[in-house]
Symmetry: D4
Subunit: 245 residues, 8 copies
């Protein structure tokens, strides 16, 4: 059945929409049995398919990375252990590991596609792994990034110290654990979109980041949106979309 | 102590930074005793001070609205009951009430300051109050808005029916209760920032919107960020900042 | 652009799949602005579009019911108050209200499309509203229904008293609040699929049905699946699909 | 059995400690059957017995207030409705009602027993009922109080505007809902004990104050302790103890 | 099929156990369609069937009470409103209402079947409705009851004041809201079983009794068991079983 | 006492129902002291007794497996580590281990007892362990199974790619973590029962699968029921019952 | 100050009650600096001081056990690892370890002080560690114990198989994980107090025993009380108090 | 731009407050790239910057400690493992490790700056790590500390035994896990501020300290405030501020 036939049958009611659709869906999929690489994703959403390593076996990550490499697709793997990196490196020679961010990246070419830069601001040194995941992701997505680290509200003058970097950014990612107040404070001072990333840093009634998550969701500063706990990757994805508008 | 003295004392260490600051802070505040209107907020953050009516007495809202009106400041009050509207109307003649959105607004002049338009997409008819709060807020902030209502994933072809409106938006607000899957589906199909607004619509294990909130925070589509449950206002604020970049 | 052009452009890559789709999606939607009735749903999923009244205004429900009536579509509205019923009745003369179940129904014709019957079993008298919602829905979907009420495990001999009804059903819906143990007990005794409906009946550490929900999800009897708290409607939908297999 | 006998029997092992105790316990109790007024509490803990009206019938509150009045004990009733106040006023002529704070108070004499004053700082106008409960309680406990209202972090310059009041206090109560960031910001700037009172103000993922509660418990500023949600009364009690040290 | 045939078929494997059972189960049930009164319950468990009024319509409670009355069964209805009482009274002339406890009771004869008495101890005046439900239930079950009210740990000497009543009980019910510490304190001082009843009294992070529930479940005193929040009825049931051992 | 005597005594009231029952209960139990194998379960419920290995010692699993093997009963052990498998293999020579699914199985004979096949659809590669547990269980229960893996809604065209497999199944198991939207999307497109299995895949506000669980329970598609988080086994049990109807 | 003086001063008001008390409190304490052994506990509460090993260092447990041994006090340590046992054994030669229950016990003499026996009933083999903790504790407290294991409601005939043991007990401990329905089923069939022990056995929405805990707290059988999750020790303590009444 | 220019521009409106601020913020920060040491914190808040080791790499802690040491700043690191201590010791020769408290401290000089002493009271031996963290912190902050350990309410006479230490303190820290009742009992007996520290000691429905946290937040004794679970450090910080008033 060629595309014309499908169409005719759909118009005459012989074929359901989804059945018709099922004939068009082959494009943009790299089928590996245990995984279907969405090779069309960048074209469609401006964000490429990325390997979320957690919950996958080392072998699975290696195979996906290899296939992408052979297809000429740039590679970003998040939540990757050192062991996973070694496996990937064996099939993707130029792969680079950021141990703090737990990311593996491989890019054929550096570019800056953004209209401005993304500022990644973090409250404490313990929040760095999440902040670095955001940085790695944003750079992989061809954005310029500036970082302002360890400027939590317990010593708010530290924030003002690097104010120019923050105020001149096109979009700001605020990474904070504990009570996550930094997102509100920054959000109350700038006229740029602020994306909050609550982290699981803290203990006790922090409940693995719930405290910072609720705090940011309830921010009294109105231009703040939030991504999942520890999700530096997701924040960078949205920041990248915004930076390229 | 004039400003020069303050400065000298600060430099010599006689005065703490915050104490010095306290002498400069009078600007941009309209002090009403029970309330301090932040008249500088728009200038600073691109978003004006808005009256969140819930938890305030009718009298308090009326007094704040009146003061803003007299100062020539445009007025938006959210979560306002009909009774509050009547009180405000008595002091702000041109105030308009949107009963579905529960907003009171008063603007001296309509404008379009955005680079594109904001699409507000909602999953079900029951989500309309939240969607309308987003619409009212976005328009108050001088944005053009298009709406696509009742296109939840249980009948996903309804979404495709108005696809052009969604794909051409500069930023998309997705309002959904129950399982909130619409945010992921839209996020997986567009290359624009998507802001999810979980609503408290549903029952049982919905837990007043927790279900949709967690769903959106865990979206497998990576360009999605989230605001608080039922917070159409906050989503519109961030969308407005993005639309004006 | 006619369908042929769309197709050509899609094939040549000028048009994205979803954009192409957007030209085909008009079928099966009754667009009312604030609502899009999915008139194709029954054909597609075996379950018709139903009006979930909660969160909708009386006026909205009335308008949707009227439109469905005029289009010759049978009507089921759940979570409907007496007031909503009065409004619907004014435009749908033959509409019937079940005050316990809070359902409005209107059917042109009674039928039995099932291969057997659905048994609705409830633990206590207080669970009847939910059980009756399941009964009304299952009958609306053209199933035969038998009921066994008030047979909770505190007096387990009551269950055995009506055992024949339960064992001869093709599929069994168990409605229970408090600790919801009835689902496990029934599930451990029959070779038919059991669908558990936890109810919000109880108090204290019942947490509006969470207790029964967790209980049923953790059932040690392995043939039990669960729907949302108080969701008699959803249980009947799945039971109907099973009964017609 | 007189006290000497009890003692002898306790020494000889004939009597258990608690049994011995039971002979000494009559002092400092005003037994009303349904209530035991702890007339010794002020002497023992520096804080008098206070009537928590919620959950008590109007009649019960009236009877307790009357008994205290007749015994010459000053009266503070919290969470009191207007109706309760009318009942109390009928038996305690000089009783005063603060409708915002929902407190009834009756004092024979004003005093200032503190070493300094207590600052009550609130984030938003909607937090006033809780802030006012703290103010009423602190004054009832013979403290001087200064208030700084509506200085939330979304417009942080408002905080600096009244900085002198805050920095000169002996102890500071910070009342805030939503994300409760104000407690951290104040705590990071002063060298006085800060007592945070999370409020239930907000909506959605605020979860009736849980958001602000967790935020304050996880404050990155280290001199902050916390009382229960909306517990202005408790905060004032501890502040009073501290102010009198 | 007579009982003998059933037996034969069961022995030969023609009949399943539960099917066989279903022929014997008619005894001890008063079938009312919407309710099955378990008339055998007292004989079987030492506790009669009791009407839990919440979630039942007034009409349903009236019909059940009437049937029990006509069958000569004593009646206890819990969580009953005044309206329900009026309906019951119209068919059960001697029925008595305890407005604080929200119980309706009707007994043909007073008796004391216990080996000792049950002490009901409550922490605050606001806990009285729950304490009184326990008292009414325990008396209905033919136990002698002594009460010790308003002796919470904030003024622990009040507890010692009535120590003799507590220490001489055969079993002790401790009713407490807020932090529920009274159960631990009593449990650490007596050699009798203590049954804790957490109440929903309190506010904020009390979470409708969760605080007291967790507190009692985690009691460091080891002879303490717990029933559901506000479940004075259940505590009295178990206390009655213990008192009659 | 033979069965006749028991019966006579039960009829005459000398014997309680449960006591009578206790004489009939020996059949269908393989008593091992620490375990009672329910050898009658398959006959009664259509589902055999299965060994849930978690929480049991390796020795216990080995002993149960050995006893089943010697009695000629087919064996399925879930949540089994490699170490447990080695122990089982030493007593059940033909036992097979699926390391991804963590299942041990031993069947004397392959069969297909279903009326159609079960489709197991999973959202991501990380969900495979749960999906494979479903597959192994369904096959053990003599069903034909087809799998569609890695078709999450972030790239919804992948779903349409294998649409025929899904639409032709008799019952569909949807396995998804993160926001679990796949269950709603599939449920909105098919007229077959869909059983959702939320997985614990994800991080942060996923809360070990709570996010996907709530999402599926609140599905706006009405023919969806749900089993416990990661419970591929339970989903397959119910799917098997349905597939054999 | 001798006891007489204290008394005089207390009577004259010179001394507070608690201060007076502090002079009498030395009795019944074995002070070890990091621990105060309550040597009077058995005399006071009928339950001796027991060593809860979790959270203590091996050295601390060893020192406490040694001191008790030297003082001639019988020893029970719960939640003890093998390593702790080795350390205790080095100072308490006759100490015995139950590896399943994780208890160390040392008794000088076996006795039966109960009026009947305690039945410990468990739902599954995986619940044995908790059941065995209850057994060890009950025996340590000089009770006779009978066990009925692996009789969960998925195969309810297994329960009836050992019915006589259950019905003849003076008090029954029911240990169950997953949905914990066994407590309700047993509670609905016996006229003895039932103490439920929820266990953390299960997975997913079991939430470490929360599911079984809520289930038991909400039991529709009214003579059931509950102890903490996995708290076999506490259940045995209360059962022992009841068994000795 | 010198300070005068900044000021002039701020006054003329050319410069925003925060931008002006950014020129003053350099003071009091030791910038290390991944960390900004707040060297002004002690001066500003009376509490020095402390190293929270959890979530930091050993290398990061070592570098921060070294920098502080070289700058002549006293060092306290909390939540430090033995490995971290070894690293710190290599660069800070006089550093001391308290293995129970998991703290590293280094002070040039011992002092007593308090007006009285801080009493640290703990309920059980298992609470010692948290109690010791409080003790170490309080001493580091130049306070005198007295300890009263293992005096939980299950044996309340142990508390009275050391009553004099408690009543003579200027401020009392109560450390307790399980049900945390000790805070209420102490709070009801003293006229000094009580700071409760809930600990994660316990199991089951303790939920990692939630039980004790809620208990303390809901304390019926009114002079009690609370810090985060296991946060001995924070409690000592506030106690120190109070002790120096």
């Amino acid at each position: 059945m060629d595309h014309r036939d499908i169409l005719e049958k759909y118009k005459s009611g012989e074929l359901e929409l989804v059945d018709a659709l099922s004939h068009f869906a082959k494009k943009g999929i790299e089928d590996m049995g245990f995984a279907n690489i969405d090779t069309d994703r960048f074209h469609r959403t401006g964000l490429p398919e990325v390997i979320y390593s957690s919950g996958k076996t080392t072998e699975q990550v290696r195979l996906i990375a290899e296939r992408m490499y052979l297809k000429g697709i740039d590679i970003l793997a998040t939540r990757a252990t050192e062991e996973v990196f070694e496996a990937v490196k064996s099939v993707v020679p130029g792969a680079i590991y950021n141990a703090l961010a737990r990311t593996i990246s491989y890019k054929r070419q550096e570019r800056d596609d953004g209209k401005g830069y993304i500022a990644v601001v973090s409250a404490g040194t313990s929040d760095l792994p999440v902040a670095e995941e955001a940085v790695e992701t944003a750079r992989f997505l061809n954005n310029r990034v500036e970082t302002v680290y360890d400027v939590g509200v317990a010593g708010i003058h530290r924030l003002f110290n690097k104010w120019e970097i923050i105020r001149n950014a096109r979009v700001i990612i605020v990474v904070a654990g504990m009570e996550g107040a930094l997102a509100s404070v920054v959000g109350g001072l700038v006229d740029k979109p602020v994306i909050g990333v609550p982290t699981s840093i803290g203990y006790g009634a922090n409940f693995q980041g719930l405290s910072a998550l609720l705090s940011m969701l309830n921010s009294c500063a109105s231009g703040v949106s939030v991504v999942n706990i520890d999700n530096g990757f997701g924040a960078a994805c949205q920041a990248s979309l915004i930076n390229k508008l």
